[in-house]
């Protein structure tokens, strides 16, 4: 399998503070790659460098074959992104949001129409298509947000703490959507601080203070650290 993300010694400093300290890893096509760490471990800074909205201080990375320094716009054409801050327009309806984001990714109106139809059927949003997004419960917003990030069939989707603040059932449903997308060949790069979610990933990478402390399949990690759950893996690492 080819690598769709290659990262070598990627570093970001803000003045004297090193937010991301020479991280290196690869992600394969169709993989669900979990990116774990406590708040402030550098996850968000790392993800922002990968999606081309923050320029790295040093190191290299290619996303879908494109360089993060010079080809950010090409990267953007090939990725989807859903951020920690909920990022649809509250004052537009579900349909209008889909149309807008589809539109700025260059889809034509007919494609957008069929995609919208599919998406609405799939998420069972019939009732709320013409409601303002601001009036919907958080769980729904996040599901819509994820679908919108997939609208232009990106090679890779970056999810920055997508399930923050929602109930366990919705989280479960959300992960089902993630699996489905991965099965269709989309690479998933997801950050989270829910350790149970880490179990769902093919491989996880754990960041502590800007550095990668562990990187392997959850199964192997548990074996290495001789514990039963990812939660304990994480606590062990954090205490070191």
């Amino acid at each position: 399998m080819e690598n769709v993300i290659e990262v070598n010694n990627l570093t970001k400093t803000f003045g004297a503070f090193t937010a991301v300290d020479a991280i290196s890893f690869q992600v394969k096509k169709g993989e669900i790659f979990g990116f774990l760490g406590a708040n402030g471990a550098g996850k968000t800074t790392a993800i922002k460098m990968l999606i081309g909205i923050t320029t790295p201080t040093s190191g290299d990375a290619t996303i879908a074959g494109f360089n993060v320094y010079t080809q950010t716009e090409s990267i953007k054409r090939n990725i989807g992104y859903m951020s920690q801050k909920f990022a649809l327009y509250d004052d537009l309806t579900v349909k209008e949001n889909i149309t807008f984001f589809g539109g700025i990714y260059g889809l034509n109106r007919n494609t957008i129409k069929t995609k919208t139809r599919e998406l609405i059927d799939e998420l069972k949003l019939e009732q709320v298509t013409n409601q303002l997004v601001g009036s919907l419960p958080l769980g729904w917003k996040q599901k819509i947000s994820f679908s919108v990030a997939l609208l232009h069939r990106p090679k890779i989707v970056f999810l920055d703490e997508p399930t923050g603040g929602v109930d366990p059932i919705t989280r479960r449903q959300f992960w089902e959507m993630i699996y489905k997308a991965a099965n269709q060949g989309t690479t998933i790069f997801v950050t989270t601080h829910y350790m149970d979610e880490a179990e769902y990933c093919d491989r996880v990478c754990i960041m502590v203070d800007g550095q990668i402390e562990a990187l392997d399949a959850p199964k192997n990690l548990k074996k290495t650290f001789e514990v039963d759950s990812m939660n304990e893996v994480f606590l062990k690492l954090a205490r070191r």
Binding site: G52, T72, E73, S74, Y81, L88, F101, I104, G106, N108
Partner: protein, 373 residues
């Protein structure tokens, strides 16, 4: 091009969906245009005039009658003493006190010449100047009257040499302030709406977090900025059109010049303002900061535009600053084209500077909008 359409559609929807803002954008400006245009006048009227008549003769009464007959003066009271008059002046109840001395009539006949004390509240220096001109005119006409009345056969008859000055007030014969103020206030309102809306726009998306989502899309900077500008540009031109209609129908302001030229100029002008707004928006962190900065520039633009006070009277360095004031050019062009019928050649200096500003400001707006940091 297609992408642009989606952005424009989205912006329009957001503007028209914000019910709290609609009346502020589309109704408030016109209410202000109608009300404030009536208020903005330097035509000094209803001057609060009072007098102390120590003489009480037909002569002194004739003088007061002259003031009462004038449309400029609102003759309030006859104060019995100077003290009471002064106290009314301090209170702000009167602005002028004319003092007619004892034996006014007798002295006038005997000495032929009398000085009259007139006290004028000169805090508003310009108004005081005008008031003193009006007083002179009335007294001049009074002098003529008494001259005829008191002239004795043995008074020497040498006529003084005279020059006649004939005023002719072009483009606004009746010195109607509305003709002057309506286009100006319209300019201010269009500018304020477009500046404030564009100034808040991007920083608002920054604060809400949606800007980040836009930044990870492959959208081009110029597409995004143009998409943001266009709806406000349309709104600005729309406001101008309704405002011109009000000016014509309600205030009967003459529109002598070429309407197409006015629209050409306005469409470029609004681009300048929108560029400034987006530039501010890109440079600030919060809507609050964006607003304060927009406010700061707006007040300077308004008060140094030549609309309320003449630019020629400013010190040289301040005149230099007004060279960078887009409102100044807009006010000039509106008046020139609307009231004087100036053509494109006449407004070429203003037009070319405005085009230059449009390029600079929008260039800065696009440059300062960074998808990557």
């Amino acid at each position: 091009m297609k992408i642009l359409g989606f952005i424009i559609q989205k912006e329009f929807k957001q503007i028209f969906r914000n019910k709290g803002m609609l009346p502020i954008i589309f109704i408030m400006p016109f209410i202000q245009l109608i009300i404030l245009s009536n208020a903005a006048t330097f035509d000094i009227k209803n001057i609060k005039f009072s007098y102390i008549d120590n003489d009480h003769t037909s002569f002194s009464r004739a003088l007061i009658n002259k003031f009462e007959a004038s449309k400029y003066f609102h003759v309030l009271t006859d104060f019995p003493s100077e003290q009471l008059a002064n106290s009314a002046m301090l209170n702000g109840d009167v602005d002028i006190i004319l003092e007619i001395p004892n034996h006014f009539e007798r002295d006038l006949q005997k000495e032929k010449h009398i000085n009259l004390r007139v006290t004028i509240n000169a805090i508003d220096g310009a108004a005081a100047g005008v008031e003193s001109v009006y007083i002179n005119q009335i007294i001049k006409s009074y002098n003529k009257d008494i001259g005829l009345k008191l002239m004795q056969p043995n008074d020497l008859q040498i006529t003084a040499l005279n020059i006649e000055t004939i005023p002719s007030f072009w483009y606004n014969k009746t010195l109607n302030y509305k003709t002057f103020m309506v286009p100006g206030i319209l300019v201010l309102l269009v500018t304020m709406i477009t500046l404030f809306l564009s100034g808040m726009n991007i920083v608002r998306e920054k604060e809400i977090g949606t800007l980040e989502q836009i930044n990870v899309t492959p959208i081009k900077k110029s597409q995004f900025i143009i998409g943001k500008l266009f709806p406000f540009w349309v709104i600005g031109l729309g406001l101008l059109s309704i405002g011109l209609l009000i000016a014509k129908v309600l205030f009967d302001v003459p529109i002598i010049g070429n309407l197409a030229l006015m629209y050409l100029y306005t469409s470029i002008y609004i681009l300048v303002i929108l560029g400034i707004g987006l530039f501010i928006s890109n440079f600030t962190e919060t809507q609050q900061q964006a607003m304060f900065i927009s406010w700061f520039f707006m007040v300077i633009f308004i008060l140094m535009s030549g609309l309320f006070t003449p630019i020629e009277s400013m010190p040289k360095w301040a005149q230099m600053i007004t060279e960078f004031n887009p409102i100044k050019y807009f006010v000039q062009v509106m008046r020139m084209v609307m009231l004087k019928g100036s053509g494109i050649n006449d407004i070429l200096p203003q037009l070319s500077k405005t085009i230059l500003f449009a390029f600079i400001m929008n260039g800065l707006a696009i440059w300062s909008y960074k998808k990557t940091n």
